[in-house]
């Protein structure tokens, strides 16, 4: 498994990063957490207008495995996120992010799984839609799940869940101000940035094959080492 799968990962990630930055997509922004490491991204998700999350600016880290895109990345919220499908440590539990080898959701609702054609964009769009439509069948945060169901079943009269979310949304405004980001709060603003994405004219140089060549062997080796150091601390 030495160099080449990681080479594929570097190529795929560079291609995606370039594409997203050239054509920003509705609802989120991405950048590298550290310019020297393509395997860790910092993402910011805008709360969708018309939901409890409206106006929110939620930061998360995405970490990609060396065999990306054959295995999915992990997504972990840095901003506080009280949600049925987010673990206490911020890690997002969603079917699209489950590696094909394990099957924690067997016998569960039909839902989209990871395959190598999934991208950062499809993942983040799934996460955004998960915010407002939690899956309470296999909760990662049972308390949040129970609270969410009470809120839903009481026709939004039991405000506990709603109050927590609104408080968390409020708390993210500081981050947005610090990053000098104005979070879109109307649907029109929220979607306006998706217009370039509808344009199918893709830059010819997206298909250049020489991204990997830009990295020397030392840099590729570095990705390996970092990944090994970091593995194993996901869930406790």
């Amino acid at each position: 498994m030495a160099q080449s799968p990681s080479g594929s990962a570097v190529k795929a990630l560079q291609l995606e990063l370039k594409k997203i930055q050239a054509e920003p997509v509705e609802g989120f922004r991405v950048k590298l957490a550290n310019d020297d490491n393509i395997f860790e991204w910092e993402v910011a998700i805008f709360g969708p207008p018309g939901t409890l999350y409206e106006g929110g600016y939620f930061k998360a880290h995405m970490k990609f495995p060396p065999d990306y895109p054959y295995s999915p990345p992990t997504v972990r919220f840095i901003s506080k996120m009280w949600h049925p499908n987010v673990y206490e440590n911020g890690e997002v539990c969603i079917s699209i992010l489950h590696p094909p080898v394990d099957d924690p959701q067997s016998g569960e609702l039909p839902s989209e799984r990871w395959n190598p054609t999934q991208t950062v964009r499809t993942i983040l769009l799934s996460v955004i839609s998960l915010l407002n439509e939690p899956n309470t069948f296999s909760p990662a945060n049972v308390d949040a799940s129970v609270m969410f169901r009470k809120w839903k079943e009481s026709k939004e009269k039991e405000k506990e869940y709603e109050n927590i979310i609104r408080k968390q949304v409020q708390a993210t405004k500081e981050d947005a101000a610090k990053d000098q980001v104005r979070v879109p709060t109307t649907l029109q603003e929220y979607c306006v940035s998706s217009i370039p994405a509808l344009d199918n004219q893709v830059d010819a140089d997206f298909y250049d094959d020489d991204y990997v060549d830009d990295l020397d062997a030392d840099e590729q080796e570095m990705y390996h080492e970092e990944d090994e150091e970091d593995s194993g601390n996901e869930e406790s």
Partner: protein
Amino acid sequence: MAAQAHAIDYDPERNYDEDTLAQQREIEKEIAESQPLISSLFTFDDIVEEYTREDEVYRHKIENLKTRYANLRKTRGDGNCFFRAFGFGYLETLLSNPTDYQRFLEICEKSKDELIALGFPQFTLEDFYDTFIDIVKQVKNPGQLEKLLETFNDQGLSDYFVVYLRLLVSGFLQKNEDDYIPFIDGERTVKQFCSQEVEPMGKESDHIHAVALTKALRVPICVEYMDREGQTCNSFMFDPTESPEESSPKPALTLLYRPGHYDILYPL
């Protein structure tokens, strides 16, 4: 190693998935270091040594294969062997068959838009397709065998090729959902089956994968099943044609199946 140490003091609070995955990666690494993705040619005398003298059933079957086949190529046992064996084996035959090459190229070129229409994300699908079609086009010029072998042993390129074949199988099954739902076990939809058993890398292929791939690309293949039953291998034709009149009894390539694994056979 870590997994064994912890097995003694099992800690219910701990999540062992990472250990299991690490161990699995270790095993995969060992296999990767000892087996090329597609090997050079072997004779049957080379593989007969894999079986003990007492193993009469297999030894007998190998003798029988020798009467019909000259050589074989081994593929790496990484769960993708069917796709890789099919891919390399078929492209190798196209090196000396320009007519079939043209026909195959046209089918491949049409497949991309069909898969996008089925809902696969265009951006990444095109990335896989571009690599796939570049490899297919390598066989345009005869005498490129060494280059082809090199390509299929380049993990990055070879795996992209396999991904695209997997997507073709998934697309074919989803398009013909009504025909294949009776063959899917468990209470799963065809789409679920595809996302669990077809699209993920390393998922082994079953009969249904072989049917779908040969039909999607309209390439007839033969599989020699070498198991413990009977005295000779059972051969099975995967014939992509729908009606008996147009059926082509001659396979484009033949694979050898030994439980859990596919290799490529070369007729005498």
